[in-house]
Symmetry: C2
Subunit: 130 residues, 2 copies
DNA sequence: CGTTCCGTTTACGTCAACGTCAACTTTCCT
DNA sequence: AGGAAAGTTGACGTTGACGTAAACGGAACG
């Protein structure tokens, strides 16, 4: 069924802008077929884009993603390749967790401040009522 | 005891670079005394810097922070002022929480992937052993 | 007196991931 | 044929929070 997709179809399917897809192509993350000037995105491009978006969600940089994607393309050295990916992913996971911890701390601190602010606001109101 | 501090003392005390302090001055977040060319940071500057760093931790932009700081300086309209700060803080808190939720989701997803990766790695090892 | 250190100013550079705009060409629809 | 719609390229802009470099001034030390 699905053979190739136009840029617009891709945009709709993945909720990205055309600019983004061209940008990814320029960065060598995608390799759509060029029929004349038009781009045609294959199943492979779709698979890659899916991985790209996932990678972004995990906080990988596009450069990191490109390298990982390239590893998959080379296809051989399966062990080395998967291992590398695994390592990177672990690093990312650690980063994300520490980020979340920091965020959690900041959230708690900000909550404290808000509580303090509420008290002060209450004071001011009482004051104004007199 | 502590009256004014030099730029270096400030850097050491707050763990920032001179460039940062000058940058904050340029952005009108700090107003050190100028003795000739030298900057001398007062107690007020220290209080402001403390708030700045806290604000950054909460994800406020420097511009937001500047405005809030200015409100405090004007000093009157205490209610309006505190209220504004309170509102902004609430927005930030909401943002931070949703960010954390997204992060938590991504962490879980990445954990899944890692688990999957481990299985595949185990397979490859078994394969290599034969 | 020389050197070294701390300080200053101005201005430009950096990084990521695109957005925006202009000026074209190509394709589709009527 | 004519005009909109969709596509293209290339160049430059954006955002935030500084970093870096150049070129200079004054003072403290030995």
């Amino acid at each position: 069924m699905s053979k190739v997709m136009t840029i617009r179809e891709m945009c709709d399917a993945f909720d990205v802008t055309p600019r983004t897809l061209r940008f990814y192509e320029a960065k060598e993350l995608l390799f759509p077929i060029r029929e004349g000037q038009r781009r045609l995105f294959t199943k492979r491009d779709r698979a890659r884009l899916k991985l790209i978006l996932q990678g972004k969600r995990f906080g990988f940089s596009l450069e990191d993603i490109r390298q990982l994607l390239d590893l998959y393309d080379m296809g051989d050295q399966q062990f080395t390749q998967l291992n590398r990916t695994y390592e990177l992913a672990q690093e990312r996971l650690a980063d994300m967790i520490s980020q979340r911890d920091e965020l959690t701390g900041a959230i708690e601190d900000l909550r404290q401040q808000l509580k303090w602010g509420e008290e002060r606001l209450a004071e001011l109101k009482r004051h104004a009522a007199e």
